[in-house]
């Protein structure tokens, strides 16, 4: 039994325990806390000098086609695993008081966590897909039952249908992918498929349309422009821990998938690179401007999260088998981690703010910095991290993505990739504008009259905030801790 089995199983055991009457919040906190510890242990035990997957374990489920429950992690999945356990633990810790159906609430969160962990650790693409589906159902419940806003049921439907459609397109792509590599026996085993692909498996033309299918399928799950309109309303309406887990962790599934499959479809990326560049600039500039126009903090954070996905896509788009080093994808992974942690902290804090102030409309807030200094400090750190300030993990990712875009540039005119990089750099200005505007409107300046007093972050709540901030800073100060784990 691999350590990964335990990590995936623990949240599910937690659900079971809650069903049999264990106190919901404590149990959830306990299992995610244990998972956090196990995640760190896995990181310590992981040997970066070894090629391929580690901690592998496998149990056959079906012979034809060959499906097995198989786990294993390489550097990429290890980083995603760490992201998942960190954010899961903090999301559950930061969950507000639950008035009704507490068991279902925490069980749902544990399901999301288990689904994400399972997807990241699976080396069998059937389970890779199925685990992600497992996490979708609870998201629907969370928004529909505990969400905020009049429209929450519609929002819950919208995200669920939207993502389900994305999943089905993805499924079609995955099946097409594996059927192209089925000579020598039909299998869903990722490692076998990787080998077959490396041996020249898929013809260029097939790579093209498989890649496109996967790009749209995964893209919908990551809110790739123009398939992003599910994201912002869902995050605005979902309870804070759900937004934290979904925007922070689950959404990274699509990007993780693209990073997994693109090396096996190099021709596919070449064929569709220009399309991808156009779409990701849609994410960065178009959604960036949409974010600027937001009047509510939750809408702003939701849209900013969509916008920042564009940079990860840029890292993937700059990938090229022919030129040099995997700078872009390495940056993409660091940025996925940084974004996941910082957006989780932002959503967590925004949730607290909504709880205590009753609104997230920025015009109605103001000058809170004096009143709740620690809260403001933490929010400021997360906002600056998200705006790509050096010292936080996000910057180390972004800067690599930009270098990736200019890899191989010799002094001639710009290629489309380089133009996209330049436009993406302007996006960095845009994100600074809306983040500083929001921070200024909510925390700085004079307080509006008739202001209701509110409480600062209580001692107990500082723990998860500190964990998130420290994660950002550690990887921000010394990103080699992660970049050395990655081999593409």
């Amino acid at each position: 039994m691999s350590i990964l089995d335990i990590i995936i199983l623990l949240p599910l055991l937690g659900v079971l325990a809650i069903a049999f009457g264990a106190p919901a919040r404590i149990t959830a906190l306990g299992v995610t806390g244990a998972n956090l510890a196990l995640g760190v242990i896995a990181w310590i035990l992981f040997d970066p000098s070894k090629e391929g997957f580690q901690f592998v374990a496998s149990r056959a489920v079906a012979k034809v086609p060959e499906i097995s429950y198989a786990v294993g992690i390489d550097g990429l999945s290890l980083i995603m695993l760490l992201l998942s356990v960190i954010v899961s633990f903090c999301a559950i810790w930061m969950a507000p008081k639950v008035e009704s159906r507490e068991k279902l609430y925490f069980s749902s969160l544990l399901f999301i966590s288990a689904g994400a962990l399972g997807a990241f650790c699976s080396t069998d693409i059937f389970f890779f897909y199925a685990f992600h589906e497992l996490a979708l159902i609870p998201t629907f419940f969370m928004i529909g039952i505990w969400g905020s806003g009049e429209d929450r049921v519609n929002t819950a439907w919208k995200i669920t249908i939207y993502l389900a459609v994305g999943s089905i397109i993805l499924l079609a792509g995955l099946i097409a992918f594996q059927s192209q590599l089925s000579q020598g026996g039909m299998t869903f085993d990722l490692i076998t498929l990787q080998q077959r692909a490396a041996d020249g498996g898929i013809p260029a033309e097939a790579q093209g349309w498989i890649f496109l299918t996967l790009l749209i399928g995964f893209g919908i799950l990551v809110s790739l422009f123009p398939f992003h309109s599910w994201a912002a309303p869902a995050y605005a309406s979902a309870p804070a821990p759900t937004s934290m887990l979904h925007a922070g962790v689950l959404k990274k599934f699509g990007l993780y998938g693209l990073l997994r499959f693109t090396p096996m479809l190099p021709e596919g990326l070449e064929t569709w690179r220009n399309l991808l560049l156009v779409l990701l600039i849609g994410n960065i500039l178009f959604v960036g401007f949409v974010t600027l126009a937001q009047k509510h903090l939750d809408g702003l954070l939701g849209n900013s999260s969509v916008m920042h996905m564009g940079y990860v896509f840029l890292g993937i788009a700059s990938w090229s088998a022919s030129t040099g080093e995997p700078i872009g994808p390495t940056g993409a992974v660091l940025l996925m981690f940084g974004h996941g942690v910082s957006i989780a902290l932002l959503f967590g804090l925004a949730g607290k703010l909504r709880e205590s102030m009753g609104t997230l409309e920025m015009e109605k807030l103001g000058g809170l910095g004096k009143q709740i200094p620690i809260f403001s400090f933490l929010f400021g750190l997360a906002a600056f991290a998200s705006a790509g300030l050096p010292g936080f993990a996000n910057f180390s990712g972004e800067v690599l993505v930009f270098f990736g875009g200019f890899q191989g540039y010799q002094g001639e005119g710009f290629t489309n990739l380089q133009w996209a990089t330049v436009l993406a750099l302007w996006g960095v200005v845009i994100s600074a504008v809306y983040m500083l505007r929001a921070y200024r409107n909510i925390f700085l300046g004079e307080q509006p009259d008739g202001f209701k007093a509110t409480e600062d972050v209580v001692l107990m709540q500082r723990v998860p905030c500190t964990i998130l901030v420290v994660s950002l800073l550690v990887i921000g100060f010394y990103p080699r801790l992660f970049s050395d784990l990655l081999t593409f």
Partner: protein, 595 residues
């Protein structure tokens, strides 16, 4: 030992921010001790001529690496001395100036963060590291300008400073990426070897790349058209204005140009850089003549002098630019701290027409301020400003006659506006109660003034200049025309300023157009309204009506249809989901069997 220069202020910032935050005085003393130690280290390094640098890999992707590494050459050793020296004096001065401030701990923590960031820029041996600290300097400046964050004006100024700098950094990063592509490296030493080949192979793109790099300096050193943040930044505490917005951070742009002077030498685009500097220096000097807030006068004066330095750098005389940077750091810090003393004594009054007659009430401040004014006005032979401004004029004289004319005009305007302010503040009658009751500031604020006054006199002497900058500037080689212009403009400008403003109660020649900075701020605000906020508004509408309409409104109606269907047959949400899941499973089976 050089690493200590970086580590010490970082640790100090962390400790004062997290551990001793509540106890302002302890934080203050820790910070002062830390910065004084870095000064000692800088002096030792300068005397020993320490050369060795070391580096470690910060991030790696395959064989691509970004390093954090130090470079110690005469440029960085000299700059380090300037930064830590002014830094130490400003820290000490702040002990007095910020004594009663309730957030003293936060103030000193931010000062230490600034020292950390600035040190990083100075010691960086490659562009990536420089960019990292470049951004961090921007943040510390943001935090310090917005120190009094419960008032609206400082907060807006802080935001404006950060965002304006971000615009400059947009170009800076593009420049770094292009230069990296063309020279194959981001380390300064390695670039030196490949740069000239790249410049010949792609001279046009190389020029563009250098101009993009220069954008970074335009933001940080507040050149036109991105100058608008610096005058507003005066909302921050005055010692901060002295350290960051006069002596060190705003000089980082010039320092960067000096660091990459070997790139500037390779392209004709450098002339454009010189023009930006020249125009900025003239524009700012003109605006300075009509400002009434003493800090605003000094701010525009700083812009003008930075323009001088950038012009010299663009004319491939980075040595002259660095020389002026070095003397300017001393006397401009002196002027700002002197202004701070005046403001402190007048109960935070900053309008020069509400002062007057302070010469007798604050004799030490008066005397030191007089020396600072003389240095900025470039009084011949006895002030440091004279020797360095002369080098700037020589650069312009040899480079471009039109620029020499502009530089001469600025040399005339500088003593003019300084004498105007000096006369209004220190001479005549006290025009308000606050000025009437002004008293000399305490010793902890006076001592830094005296030290800086001494520096403003001796810094220009060849021996000291050579020690700090490693360069010898021979006054004897200066052409007669330059000497004549330098001395004549100083006498005429200063004299005119004194005669015109002596004994005046208010501005005798108000020119609203100049006082309001040619309405550039208003124009910018209008541009932002139309382009940024307008585009944002339209995008939001498009997003809602078109994008969402096409991609999901269709499915939304499907959802509603499905929803009501399920409601009619009395099944809940779970079944609906199961249905979708079922569709997926059927698809799997179908494809598995038939594909």
């Amino acid at each position: 030992m050089a690493w200590l220069l970086l580590i010490l202020p970082l640790v100090t910032a962390a400790v004062t921010a997290l551990v001793t935050r509540k106890n302002g005085s302890v934080s203050a003393y820790i910070s002062v001790a830390s910065v004084a130690t870095t000064l000692v280290i800088s002096v030792l390094m300068l005397l020993q001529g320490t050369k060795d640098g070391s580096s470690f890999t910060w991030i790696a992707a395959g064989d691509f690496k970004l390093n954090i590494g130090l470079t110690l050459d005469s440029l960085s050793r000299g700059m380090m001395l300037i930064v830590t020296f002014i830094g130490t004096l400003v820290h000490v001065f702040s002990l007095g100036y910020m004594k009663g401030d309730e957030s003293k701990g936060r103030y000193f923590a931010c000062l230490s963060l600034f020292m950390f960031s600035m040190t990083g820029i100075v010691l960086a041996d490659n562009f990536a590291m420089m960019f990292i600290f470049w951004e961090l300097v921007g943040v510390s400046s943001y935090l310090l300008i917005g120190h009094w964050f419960t008032r609206n004006a400082p907060v807006e100024a802080a935001k404006k400073a950060f965002l304006t700098n971000r615009i400059g950094d947009f170009g800076f990063m593009i420049g770094i990426l292009m230069i990296w592509g063309m020279t194959g490296s981001i380390a300064f030493e390695e670039m030196k070897e490949t740069a000239s080949a790249a410049a010949t192979a792609h001279s046009k793109m190389f020029g563009i790349a250098v101009l993009c790099l220069f954008c970074g300096a335009v933001g940080k050193s507040a050149m036109m058209p991105l100058h608008v943040w610096l005058p507003d930044a005066m909302e921050g505490p005055t010692p901060v204005s002295a350290l960051i917005h006069a002596a060190t951070m705003v000089a980082a742009g010039v320092f960067m140009l000096a660091r990459v002077s070997f790139l500037l030498n390779l392209t004709e685009a450098a002339e454009l850089i010189a023009w930006v500097g020249a125009i900025t220096s003239l524009f700012a000097a003109v605006v300075a003549t009509q400002q009434n807030d003493i800090k605003k006068v000094l701010a525009y004066s700083t812009l003008s002098q930075l323009g001088y330095m950038v012009m010299a750098a663009g004319l491939n005389s980075t040595d002259a630019a660095m020389f002026h940077l070095y003397t300017h750091a001393g006397f401009k810090a002196l002027l700002f701290l002197g202004a701070g003393a005046v403001i402190y004594a007048c109960h935070h009054e900053q309008d020069m027409w509400k002062m007057g007659g302070l010469s007798k009430k604050m004799p030490i401040t008066f005397a030191t301020f007089a020396i600072g004014t003389a240095a900025l006005a470039a009084v011949p032979y006895v002030t440091s400003g004279f020797f360095s401004k002369e080098q700037i004029l020589v650069a312009a004289y040899n480079g471009n006659k039109m620029m020499f004319f502009i530089a001469g005009l600025v040399a005339f305007l500088t003593p003019f506006y300084m004498m105007r302010m000096f006369t209004a503040v220190f001479f005549g009658k006290s025009r308000t109660k606050h000025a009437e009751h002004a008293k000399e500031v305490p010793g902890v604020m006076n001592v830094p003034l005296i030290i800086l006054a001494a520096v403003s006199i001796v810094a220009g002497f060849p021996l000291l200049g050579k020690l700090v900058l490693g360069n010898h500037f021979a006054h004897a080689d200066v052409p007669f025309e330059v000497l004549f212009v330098s001395v004549a403009t100083m006498i005429v400008g200063g004299g005119l300023g004194f005669v015109l403003y002596r004994g005046k109660e208010s501005e005798p020649l108000p020119i609203a157009f100049v006082r309001d900075k040619f309405y550039l701020d208003e124009i910018y605000i209008a541009i932002i309204r139309v382009f940024q906020d307008g585009v944002a508004y339209v995008s939001k509408a498009l997003d809602h009506h078109v994008v969402d309409g096409i991609t999901s409104r269709g499915s939304a109606s499907t959802v509603n249809g499905l929803g009501s269907l399920f409601r009619r047959i009395q099944v809940g949400n779970l079944q609906a989901y199961a249905f979708l899941f079922g569709v997926g499973v059927i698809l799997v089976v179908y494809l598995l069997v038939f594909a």
